[in-house]
């Protein structure tokens, strides 16, 4: 098991290196306009050249990447081109907001989807059909549209919950809950829509396996068959679905943050991209990727723990 974890960890590091290279290449491909956008259109050639030299943009690409990587490994992601704030600090203050809504909604998605999906697979009937319907509707309607509808109903019309803003958990747990409720529900809707049906599919798949029939033939109670064997066999595919769901939710959170004016990572990225603030964009990309890689790592390890065969892979 330790070897398995070490190997996965190594794989994750290599993956991060690859991602950082691709991200850097993408983000800094348009670097030549950077000095222009910082200094304004009227800046003269000398000033631009000076600015480029200052930012290191006159260096060859590979040198730029090397410098960035070495600094990043020491935890230094540079500073914003526009207000010279440290990228690490900027991200540090935004990250808890995004993680709050993403983590809570993914955990709730997991809980609700597993319950709904497995029940639908085992019982069938109206619940099964309801899930099929919700899965189409939930995917077809953009989550930010759902979010706006929620705002109109619960914030504007009923006034039960705040329409915008974020309250840190440390300041007031109850107001923290109130501030993330609507964003979480908006993300939850799309999350359940796409995962419940897949967990239903995975469960149906497991239920039709030979060993389930054999366990029943051995006189095992239905509770043991479903609760221990089917649940565990379906957990692998379900975890894979949830890890993809996590990646999707991090992306979905960007727009949700905008709707609820939550000062999260996504909004930071959007504002940076509109200004052309490359170090911040790069920082957001890398931090997101690190989180995703870490979550995948945890899921791989849990998977290896549940499924002895996965440890060989």
């Amino acid at each position: 098991m330790l070897v398995f974890i070490a190997r996965r960890l190594g794989g994750g590091l290599v993956l991060m290196l690859g991602i950082s290279f691709i991200a850097f290449a993408l983000v800094f491909a348009g670097g030549s306009h950077a000095a222009h956008s910082i200094l304004g259109q009227d800046a003269d050639a000398a000033a631009i050249a000076a600015k480029e030299a200052e930012l290191g943009l006159d260096q060859p690409f590979i040198v730029q990447y090397g410098t960035w990587l070495l600094n990043a490994l020491r935890g230094d992601f540079g500073h914003s081109w526009f207000n010279s704030e440290q990228v690490v600090d900027l991200i540090g203050t935004r990250l808890p907001v995004t993680l709050s809504i993403v983590t809570v909604s993914v955990l709730l998605t997991a809980l609700v989807s597993v319950l709904l999906g497995m029940t639908a697979a085992i019982r069938g009937g109206w619940l099964d059909r309801a899930i099929q319907f919700v899965s189409v509707a939930g995917v077809a309607l953009p989550n930010f549209w759902v979010a706006i509808v929620l705002v109109v109903i619960f914030a504007v019309t009923l006034g039960w919950l705040p329409a915008t803003g974020y309250v840190p958990f440390g300041d007031s747990p109850s107001r923290w809950v109130a501030s993330i409720t609507l964003p979480v529900v908006a993300l939850l809707f799309a999350g359940i829509a796409s995962t419940a049906q897949q967990i239903r599919g995975a469960t149906i798949d497991v239920l039709s396996r030979d060993f389930v029939r054999t366990l029943r033939a051995r006189g095992l109670s239905e509770r043991s068959v479903i609760g221990a064997h089917v649940l565990r066999a379906a957990a692998g595919p379900a975890l894979t679905v949830l890890s993809l769901q996590f990646i999707g939710t991090i992306g979905g959170a960007v727009v949700i943050e905008k709707v609820f004016a939550l000062p999260g990572l996504g909004l930071l990225g959007v504002n940076a991209t509109i200004k052309g603030d490359m170090p911040v964009i790069m920082g957001v990309l890398i931090v997101t990727a690190v989180i995703v890689v870490l979550v995948n790592l945890v899921i791989d390890i849990v998977n290896g723990w549940i499924n002895p065969k996965a440890r060989l892979a």
């Binding site: 043991s224 769901q245 995703v292 549940i306």
Partner: protein, 585 residues
């Protein structure tokens, strides 16, 4: 949100499909027809936008700011700048559809082409491509697209092309897995032998076989692209010069207090378009996925009267047994039709027939374990005079009085639990033993079925032992509760020839030693000769001949029985020839 959705079809459609027109399949389904009509109308509206709209989408009329629907030719009213909402909606379809097209084309070109190559040739190319896929799939596409705005600016077509690159891995995986499956098909070998070039084979045969899952996935990707594009536009990262659905939502959001109705229209437009794409994909997928709707089943009345009239010496009495499977059309497909026989106490009954003759269905019905959709439509089964078709009756006897030995040893052990757990757990459930007692019983059983190094096997997971060993474990499990009747479904078919003989010896030994009755399902008269006292020959769901083993071997009455006998005696496995017909029983 949508990334997770992609993996469903990856799982569900990674197998090659039969050759039937996709369009015909879509049109056969009302939902498919409706989706197709909706999409056609949206495309037509986008193309004919300048002809079918009254006002230009960009013209602002101060008098029409936030005008309600049906005001002076503004069918859906005016937006917060006094522009015609309907006109903007119709023109907005243009960029939406073009953007989706851009994503679809790029991801198809990259994913399908490389997937065909990767799946056909495998090797290093596949390994590298697989790694790049991992890398791309791990990046949240929306965040990357947000970042790309800084580089490429408000260029919808280019942005959506980048999305195409980001989602290409899902196409790559899908197509690669499909191609690997198709590659094993005989007709591809045949094409190679007949001298067709690889390019020709891939282009004609392989691509044709995998087209339906590609259509399914393409419709999903189109839906995903539309949602993502609207999201970017909503964030202000869209094309500011053309009307877009996401842009309309952004405008509507700013006047959410004054005119909440404004956000309804683009929401409906997106929902209907994406919904149509998803439903279209679902219809295509379902039309290729075998049994569609499984209706809730009524159970036919059990034959209570038959139960008492079981002849002397019979432990299990089957009479007039009819088994059907619900079809999507509403009819039942009858797979077992009026089958009757008796299993005599302490004797072995061979249930013989080709694949699809209904012998496995019959044996599963005795256990009360017919697969989903299957049901006993008529006749009766009784065990020691008790009606096995009564609710819960079979369940109460399974694993206690009646046991089951399956055909395929590996797939019948739960891969996630140790052998020990899988032996001990049912023992405790069936006989109420303590953990230690059950463990001792399990060890003794494993020794009895000829497993060396019992302690190690108890600790092992199924993938750590051989197929022959796994079958011994399953036999040990079956006899663990001292059953009176064992149903063995082709217990040696999946094993090596040398192991087969040992397993048959073991079964014979256990049966004699414990005086058990046994139903042995097989297609192999060699096995029958070895083990059986009585024989029932089945064909197409009916019993065509029955008798003692001596009678059947000495003087077969039916031509079919003689053919089966001859094929076994010739040393030709009957199965390989006969398997081609009919469904797997």
């Amino acid at each position: 949100m949508s990334t997770a959705m992609l993996s469903t079809e990856l799982d569900r459609t990674t197998r090659p499909l039969r050759r039937t027109g996709i369009l015909a399949r879509i049109l056969r389904n009302p939902m498919g027809t409706a989706s197709l009509i909706v999409l056609t109308l949206i495309v037509l509206a986008a193309i004919l936008a300048p002809l079918i709209t009254v006002n230009p989408p960009g013209r602002a009329d101060i008098g029409m700011v936030n005008a309600p629907p049906f005001t002076d030719g503004y069918l859906l009213g005016g937006d917060n700048a006094g522009r015609d909402v309907l006109s903007r909606l119709v023109f907005g379809a243009q960029l939406t559809l073009l953007g989706a097209l851009s994503t679809v084309i790029v991801s198809l070109l990259l994913g399908v082409t490389l997937g065909l190559i990767g799946g056909y040739y495998r090797g290093r190319f596949d390994a590298v491509a697989g790694w790049v896929c991992d890398l791309l799939l791990i990046l949240p596409s929306k965040i990357v697209l947000v970042a790309m705005f800084a580089v490429i600016g408000p260029n919808t077509m280019l942005t959506m092309a980048v999305l195409g690159v980001m989602v290409a891995p899902s196409f790559y995986r899908l197509v690669r897995n499909l191609v690997i499956a198709v590659r094993k098909e005989l007709y591809i070998d045949a094409a190679q032998v007949s001298g067709l070039s690889d390019a020709r084979i891939i282009g004609r045969h392989v691509l044709f076989a995998v087209r339906a899952p590609i259509v399914v996935h393409t419709s999903m990707i189109a839906g995903l692209a539309i949602i993502l594009q609207a999201g970017l536009e909503f964030l202000g990262l869209g094309d500011p010069d053309s009307p877009t659905w996401g842009g309309m939502l952004q405008d509507a959001f700013t006047s959410i207090y004054s005119d909440p109705l404004l956000m309804v229209w683009p929401g409906i437009a997106i929902g209907v378009t994406v919904g149509a794409f998803i439903l279209l994909g679902n219809v295509v997928r379902d039309s290729f996925d075998a049994p569609a709707a499984v209706r809730p089943r009524r159970r036919a009345v059990a034959a209570g009267s038959d139960a008492v009239t079981a002849p002397e010496g019979s432990i299990c009495h089957v009479s007039g047994l009819t088994i059907g499977y619900a079809q999507a059309s509403g009819d039942d497909k009858v797979v077992v039709d009026g089958v009757g026989f008796d299993v005599q106490r302490g004797r072995v009954l061979g249930l013989v027939g080709e694949s699809g003759s209904g012998k496995t269905q019959t044996s599963l019905a005795i256990l009360g374990l017919l697969p989903k959709g299957g049901a006993v439509l008529g006749g009766g089964i009784s065990f020691e005079g008790k009606d096995l078709l009564a609710p819960g009756a079979a369940r109460a006897l399974r694993g206690r009085r009646i046991a089951y030995i399956p055909q395929e040893p590996m797939s019948n052990l739960d891969p996630n639990f140790t052998i020990g757990h899988q032996l001990i757990e049912p023992l405790r459930a069936a006989k109420g033993l303590s953990r230690t007692e059950a463990r001792e019983a399990a060890s003794a059983l494993l020794e009895r079925v000829g497993i060396p190094d019992v302690e190690r096997v108890l600790r092992s997971y199924p993938h750590q032992i051989s197929g022959g060993m796994a079958q011994r474990v399953l036999i040990a499990g079956a006899v663990s509760c001292d059953p009176d009747l064992i149903i063995a479904d082709e217990p040696t078919t999946a094993l090596d020839v040398t192991v087969q003989a040992e397993i048959l010896d073991l079964l014979r030994g256990l049966q004699r030693e414990r005086g058990m009755s046994m139903v042995l399902v097989t297609h192999d008269f060699g096995v029958v000769a070895d083990l059986c006292d009585d024989v029932v020959v089945m064909r197409d769901g009916r019993v065509i001949e029955r008798g003692t083993a001596e009678e059947i071997f000495g003087d077969p009455q039916q031509e079919y029985t003689r053919t089966l006998l001859a094929s076994t005696l010739d040393g030709t496995p009957a199965r390989s020839v006969l398997d081609k017909k009919g469904a797997q029983s």
